[in-house]
Amino acid sequence: MITAFLAKIQRYGQVSEAEKAFLKRIVMHLHKYGPGQEIAAQGMSPPESCLVTSGFAGRIKTLSGGRRQILSLQVPGDFCDLQGFLLKEIDHSIEALSQCEIAKVPHSAIADITERFPRLTRALWWDTAVDAAVQREWMTSMGCRSAYEQIAHLLCEMLLRLQAVGWADSNSYDLPITQERLGDAFGLSTVHVNRTLQALRQNRLIVSEGARIIIPDVEALKKVAGFDPAYLTGQAPA
C-alpha cells in the first residue's frame, strides 16, 4: 500500500525499519474512486492528506461557467494535498482522473512524523519541493511550449515519475485519462489534444494501444519536448 510512496522517498534517502513500520501503520484506510469523482472539495479543511496508492488523481480549480483547470497530475506515491497539514484549507479540489485508490493520512499522524522522525520530515519536505518544481515546469509548458512540445514533455515526465514508483517499464505505461481531461490539464481544447496526439503518433514518437502509451524512442521524444529531467530528482544528500 505504501510501496510507491516508499520507492519515491527512498530516492531522497534511506528509510529505516522503524520509519517504514510507522508509515505502514498510518497509511491504512484506502478509499476507491472512479474517474471524475471528487476526492476533496475546494475550500474545505479536511483532517487528513490524500496519498495516491494506485491510479491517477488531479488538483483542480473550477471557475464560473464550468471552466476547469487541472493543475497537476498525481500518480501513485504522490500526496495531493500535503500542504493541507499546514494551510488547513485547500485552495483546489482533488478529483480522480482514472480509477484510483487513495489513502487518507490523518494530520495527527503527519504531526507525529515531524516530532519523532526528522529524516522522514525532511523527505516530506523534499517531496513538497519536487512537487513545486513540477508545478514550475507545468507553468512553463502552459506559457511557452507549443501543444506538441507540451504534450511530449508531459509524456516524458509521466514515464520518469511512473518508473520511479514501479508503474512504468522502460518505455511504456498506462495513462487511462480521457482526452477531454488531458485538455483541461493542458489548457487546450479536446480537439487540439486529439490532433496533437495524432501528430505525435504519425511521427512515430508515441504508439498508443488503448490506455497504454508506448514510446518507441525515448530520447527522440525527450528531444522534441526539450525535456531535462533534473527538476524531478533534485540532488540527493551525500
Binding site: 481544447s189 479536446t190 480537439v191
Partner: protein, 81 residues
C-alpha cells in the same frame, strides 16, 4: 450524446478526425471547433508566414458536414511613402 468529428484544413490540406467527440449539442461542437482553431493558431502562426488559411469542419455521426469555421492569416504591409 451526439458524436461529432472535427476535421482540420490547413491551406486546403485536410487532416481528418477519426476519433471524434461526444458533446451535448451543436453549440458545444461550435465552441469546441472555435477553441481548437485558436489553439492551432497559437501553435503555428508566425510573422514569417505568407498568407495562410485554416479551417475546422464539423461532421456529425453520419459524416454530414454541419459547420465550418475559417481563420485567415495575412500580413498587409503599408506601401512605403
Amino acid at each position: 450524446m451526439p458524436h461529432y468529428f472535427f476535421d482540420t484544413c490547413e491551406d486546403g490540406h485536410v487532416i481528418s478526425d477519426e476519433v471524434g467527440l461526444e458533446l451535448p449539442g451543436i453549440e458545444d461542437a461550435k465552441r469546441e471547433a472555435a477553441r481548437s482553431l485558436a489553439d492551432l493558431a497559437r501553435d503555428v502562426l508566425s510573422s514569417s508566414m505568407k498568407k495562410r488559411e485554416f479551417a475546422v469542419e464539423v461532421r456529425d455521426a453520419l459524416s454530414k458536414r454541419i459547420l465550418r469555421i475559417v481563420l485567415v492569416f495575412d500580413i498587409e504591409h503599408e506601401p512605403p511613402v
